[in-house]
């Protein structure tokens, strides 16, 4: 291909797939319809992607000047290869897609100069585990195909402003960088934010309902190691009129941030999910609470005692730090509890019995 500015300018957009031009520093491609380059691009220059069409690069490219996406989508891989590479990417109006044929710890050196969308195609998990993510306060929309996640494990550069998880699962690994920290995260209906190992998640997160991919939860701890416990310290908002699931299996899961909003909450998965309401940060979501599987552990201070309630689907046990007296009532949720508890266990309440009222989520001591 002979890259020539003057000839490119004379070609009509409707009859070509792409127009290319060249300078010393960049090779520019203006893509009008989907185009795939499978030959290796090498040299001490960068690539600029213009135009509305998708440019797919499938070779193990070695050019060193970086990649700028001004419009359309730059796709890395075509679903049949695992070594496609593009170096450092700057999204300046365009978007990025990954389509590898196998699990890959792939290139994640990305800078958002404008709001952008990143897409994972194919059914296999991908980890963006090399390089730095510079969010620049911009909005990142993420679409993930299948039930496996796109993990953002790069080094943190600058924070994103907003992360919209539109479809599928987006993950972060506590043993890696957590480049999504500080951003506001919105999880669309049926989508998922998941974790691995024990990250601290400081994001304010809005859940819009659904159980996420594989019905594992809108929030899910993927780890199966008991000591792996993500800690969510930001406010979690349950969107009005929705019911959002949160789940884990053998791993831990702790929410110390406030759970708020007019939506409902469902615990799924076999593990223990711990939530903490303090006197100053009290969970006040007003929707219903359902324990479908596992244990929802709720710690709430009341007067002199701090009961820790462990709700399963069929049983409720409450452990008191100071023995309660007859007539005391303890409210664990603002809304109703879907489960009814015929079996109640009290620990540290000598001689006392208790009755749980699911209609107002209160335990009354007798």
């Amino acid at each position: 291909m002979n890259l020539n500015d003057s000839s490119a300018a004379k070609v009509g957009a409707n009859i070509v797939s792409f127009i290319a031009s060249a300078t010393a520093a960049f090779r520019q491609f203006t893509i009008y319809s989907a185009t795939t380059f499978s030959t290796v691009i090498s040299g001490a220059f960068g690539i600029v992607k213009n135009g509305p069409g998708t440019l797919t690069l499938t070779a193990t490219n070695t050019y060193t000047g970086g990649t700028i996406v001004n419009a359309g989508t730059l796709q890395i891989g075509n679903g049949t290869n695992i070594t496609a590479s593009v170096g450092t990417v700057t999204l300046s109006g365009g978007n990025l897609a990954y389509n590898y044929s196998a699990f890959v710890n792939s290139n994640g050196a990305i800078t958002l100069a404008r709001d952008a969308t990143i897409t994972k195609l194919g059914t296999l998990q991908q980890n963006l585990q090399v390089g730095t993510l510079n969010g620049g306060g911009k909005t990142l929309n993420v679409n993930v195909a299948g039930t496996t996640a796109l993990y953002f494990n790069q080094t943190f550069g600058t924070a994103l402003g907003l992360v919209n998880i539109l479809t599928g699962a987006v993950g972060v690994d506590g043993a890696r960088g957590i480049p999504l920290r500080d951003a506001v995260i919105t999880v669309a209906t049926g989508a998922q934010f998941r974790t691995y190992t024990s990250p601290t998640i400081n994001n304010a997160i809005t859940l819009n309902g659904g159980a996420g991919p594989n019905a594992t939860g809108a929030l899910w701890n993927e780890s199966v190691v008991a000591a792996h416990t993500p800690i969510y310290t930001g406010t979690i908002t349950l969107a009005t009129g929705t019911n959002s699931s949160v789940g884990n299996s053998t791993s831990g899961f702790t929410i110390t941030g406030k759970i708020t909003g007019a939506g409902s909450f469902t615990k799924v998965g076999t593990g223990i999910l711990s939530t903490f309401s303090t006197l100053t940060v009290a969970n006040d979501y007003t929707g219903s609470t359902t324990i479908s599987a596992g244990t929802l552990r709720v710690l709430k201070p009341f007067a002199a005692t701090t009961p820790t309630a462990s709700f399963t689907a069929t049983t409720l046990s409450v452990s008191f730090s100071v023995a309660p007296t007859a007539g005391m009532t303890f409210r664990f949720f603002q809304g109703t509890t879907t489960n009814t508890y015929a079996s109640v266990t009290l620990v540290g309440a000598p001689g006392r019995t208790g009755t749980y009222n699911s209609a107002n989520s209160t335990l009354t001591i007798a």
């Binding site: 890959v104 993990y151 690994d173 053998t250 076999t270 399963t312 049983t315 266990t345 000598p350």
Partner: protein, 78 residues
């Protein structure tokens, strides 16, 4: 030994011992404690060996120990 419930269906124990509370096949509480237990589920009190034997005899399950590991670690460096 299993503590028999009263007429209202509550079993109580205020001793310091290993205490096992279960409902069906699910373990609700299992620990050595001086704290009192009041429960509408089954309360078994004894030594740790006695409690372990009861857990084995009834095939009681601590659901928090269950997992779903698919055997793959997709988080290691490739």
């Amino acid at each position: 030994m299993t503590i028999q419930p009263n007429e209202q269906g509550w079993a109580f124990d205020e001793s310091t011992a290993w205490k096992l509370v279960y409902d069906g096949s699910t373990i609700i509480f299992f620990d050595e404690t001086e704290k009192s237990i009041s429960t509408q589920s089954v309360l078994f009190v004894g030594t740790k060996d006695e409690c372990d034997a009861e857990i084995a005899r009834l095939a009681l399950v601590d659901v928090s120990a269950q997992g779903n590991d698919n055997g793959l670690d997709l988080h290691a460096d490739a």
